[in-house]
């Protein structure tokens, strides 16, 4: 009993926590393991092979969906990050202003409204626009993704700006820098880690979206997640596991990178 009575310990909490971690990871690990299955049944292990990765690599639909996912996520990240950076500058500089609450409400709105409601709303409005303009390109997806990525880009950028020292900008202004020069040579370099973090979050969020994409896309505009959702209705082969594992690897890499970059800073 010498060391056993740890004040912080609550009976039974550690086993539950361990169970929790095990349950969180077991399904993902199984998914990854079975992506290397040589057989074509999902849960019948028949030896190791890269067969399903090759199949996915050669699947034209998967290729197209991947390219489309990257185009949409890239464009949405660019738009959302730029818009969020400008908005963050507007809301952290100077005194609080009239309408600030409304601005924050608008920026955070995509986080509070259930995704399915936003998806339906966009379906309705874009249907009208499609009839009026006849345009059916990727623009709708890019616009929709940009909107729900803005709050995710906004959070780290604003946090970074709030932690920044304003006196450097003031010094630049005192030394006759134009506002643009002050921004370009003082503010932006200091803000850059926040912008990068915001862009990474926006990219992952866009890449992962299923619901809004499913409702907004025109026929034949599948992204990787909506392609997978469609496949789940048919007979599923480990090809889906292979695609999932690849997507998983990208997300994990970005998140770990983001996490490490953030930790070093503080």
């Amino acid at each position: 009993m010498a060391k056993a009575f740890d004040l912080r310990k609550q009976t039974g909490f550690t086993p539950v926590a361990m169970l929790c971690f095990a349950l969180l990871y077991m399904p993902i690990i199984l998914l990854v393991v079975y992506s290397f299955n040589a057989g074509s049944a999902i849960s019948d292990w028949q030896g190791f092979s890269f067969r399903w990765y090759e199949a996915a690599w050669q699947n034209e639909q998967v290729k197209e969906a991947t390219v489309r996912s990257l185009i949409v996520a890239g464009a949405a990240t660019l738009i959302a990050t730029t818009a969020a950076t400008l908005a963050a500058l507007a809301t952290t500089r100077g005194k609080p202003f009239k309408g600030q609450t409304a601005v924050f409400a608008l920026i955070n709105q995509p986080l509070m409204v259930p995704e399915i409601v936003t998806a339906v709303a966009l379906l309705v409005v874009f249907a009208l626009v499609k009839v009026q303009t006849g345009y059916t390109g990727l623009g709708y997806l890019i616009l929709a993704h940009s909107a729900f990525c803005i709050p995710f880009a906004f959070m780290p950028i604003r946090a970074r700006l709030q932690g920044m020292d304003l006196t450097l900008e003031q010094a630049a202004a005192d030394l006759y820098a134009t506002p643009w020069q002050a921004f370009r040579f003082v503010t932006l370099p200091l803000l850059w880690p926040g912008v990068l973090a915001g862009a990474m979050l926006a990219f992952v969020i866009s890449l992962d979206d299923v619901v809004i994409t499913e409702f907004v896309k025109t026929a034949g505009q599948d992204t990787l997640p909506t392609y997978m959702l469609g496949q789940l209705r048919r007979t599923v082969t480990p090809e889906i596991n292979a695609i999932s594992t690849a997507l998983l690897a990208i997300s994990v890499l970005l998140v770990v990178f983001f996490f490490l970059a953030n930790r070093r800073k503080t």
Partner: protein
Amino acid sequence: MTDVSAEASPEPRSKAASLDRHAVRNRALLLTPAMLVLICAASGPLIFVVIYSFLTAGDYGGVIWQFSLDGWTSVFIERDIFDGTLSIADAHLSIFWRSVKLSLLTTLLAFIFGFPTAYFIATRPRKQRDIWMLLIIIPFWTNLLIRTFAIMEVIRNEGVVNSALMAIGIIDQPIQLLFTDFAILTGMVYVYLPLMVLPVYASMERLDFSLIEAAYDLYATRWQVLRRIIIPVVKPGIIAGSILVFVPSLGAYVTPRVLGGGTKLMLGNLIELQFGQGRNWPLGAALSITLLAIVMVALIIYVRKAGKEDVGHG
């Protein structure tokens, strides 16, 4: 581009006024792109959903621009297609009930698993905590569809759960787990659990453990310490976590669609159905507004209860 000049050392009054006006204009310019995107593709479209809920359904989907309350009445009442009699819409009510029931259960289970986990992380040495948190965050940022698919693999007839149960000899035939309410519940707890752990951990980190020491000195039992000290302090985090789990559960679409197999619907799937095969856009719009209203009530309760307490967000 920034209004740094406006914040430089004090200026004569008239010049300051002109700089102020300059700053206001700059701020408006800076806010324009974000506001424009959000109004076009987030807030603006919601207004259309409200309008559509008061229109007449078109024969092949879409709407006829004619005022009608049919969308709203058919949320709860249905007209028999043969004799035109009115009755309570049992199908809708059962889906509402399933959505609320499963979301509440999800929240409860997420708490039962999430609270001890958050406590465990908060009591690790400082250096270790980041690593444990990363282990929670990684699944959180993994594609929702992939996680749902992973759960599907585990609970399918040939999956690990059934194989294990058969190997031990508890059952000799696979039990049907997939495409049941149980499957949806499992999936939702799995998918939304990190949303409980993150805010609970955030408030747990602020817990002063000398309070616990003092309680033990005064002969409190472990249960009393938990109930009288830990839970009250962590309460804002628990409320935040519950809201963060409950709200997306209620509007869940992907998880019930994949794990419910198209027969066990939730509110999100019912809404989709009205815009797809159901071809009743006003009803779909009315259901969407109803869902949104429930979520808003939950958020308002949260804001009231948690007060100015910070919400830890991903």
